[in-house]
């Protein structure tokens, strides 16, 4: 276990270094954008956080389908872990967007298709996590949240396509946006460095979060074993604080 903790901190140090390099390239290597100036440097973490959030929600979607097919609790654990990680990245998108928008558009927020669909995406996964806390039975919780998670993922392509389907205050796509769009070569390289850093962060956090779910499962099973040995002596209260239930799938 000590080696696992050491690996975890080593991984965290490596990711911190990568994030530092990414921050440096975004501030000092990327050229200043002609129209918006330096505030455009938010782009390097705003856009890549959105991509990483989408990827996390795709993992939720795959894990949800896999759970419904195989009924293995580990898929449910992966789904809830990826949903929480995706939510963290989408929060970054929703926080950095208005900070970028204010000096450029003169407003913090507008209810256009891109911003609204992104906010709805965030809400859908907040509800996903709340829903899990409302359901007591582990199997029912895993099944209901898997079905809900598949439905929630439908918003991801809507967010992606919103600036292609509708006229929005949000800029039209600069990446994969067709003729007339595109990025300067150095900007592209900085985007890739920043995305690599965020992907490594996603892997690190997802791994830790998944371990957390596995431990919850173990704690729940052990508590159940103790309770069944000595009924009424109650180790369950101790375990329930963290696990919220016993055995089966995880919260």
């Amino acid at each position: 276990m000590r080696s696992t903790v050491k690996t975890l901190w080593l991984g965290a140090a490596l990711v911190a270094l990568l994030l530092g390099i990414a921050g440096y390239t975004a501030f000092f290597i990327a050229p200043t954008e002609r129209t918006m100036g330096d505030i455009q440097r938010i782009f390097y973490f705003h856009v890549t956080s959105a991509w990483t959030g989408f990827l996390s929600f795709f993992i939720v979607f795959i894990a949800n389908v896999a759970y419904l097919v195989a009924r293995k609790p580990r898929w449910d654990s992966l789904a809830v872990s990826a949903a929480e990680v995706g939510l963290a990245f989408t929060t970054v998108v929703l926080v950095t967007g208005p900070i970028w928008a204010h000096p450029v558009w003169g407003i913090w927020w507008t209810w256009d298709a891109r911003l609204t669909s992104t906010f709805v995406l965030w809400l859908l996964y907040v509800v996903y996590l709340i829903l899990r806390n409302l359901l007591e039975d582990p199997e029912r919780r895993a099944t209901v949240s898997a079905v809900y998670g598949i439905f929630a993922f439908l918003d991801v392509p809507i967010v992606y396509m919103s600036i292609r389907w509708w006229r929005t205050q949000h800029p039209q796509p600069v990446i994969a946006g067709g003729s007339g769009s595109g990025l300067d070569a150095t900007m592209w390289r900085v985007v890739l460095v920043c995305w690599a850093a965020l992907l490594s962060l996603m892997v690190l956090v997802l791994r830790s979060r998944y371990q957390l779910e596995k431990l919850r499962h173990e704690v729940a099973e052990l508590s159940y074993e103790i309770d069944s040995r000595a009924p009424g002596t109650g180790s369950r209260g101790l375990a329930r604080q963290e696990t919220g239930g016993q055995g089966g799938a995880t919260r």
């Binding site: 505030i39 929060t91 957390l212 431990l215 101790l238």
Partner: protein, 54 residues
Amino acid sequence: MKNFESLFAAYILVWAIFFVYYFTVARRLAELREELNALKAAVLGGSEPGSAKR
């Protein structure tokens, strides 16, 4: 640098969100490991988890 405050605020918030989230997960993981060790000790020793060394 124009709009430096906004740029600085955005980056500080990005790091803060990631940092707080990662450390919350790491702290929950450490607490759960302790709880699991206590429960394992209780199962092996046949005692209550509260009496096990945590």
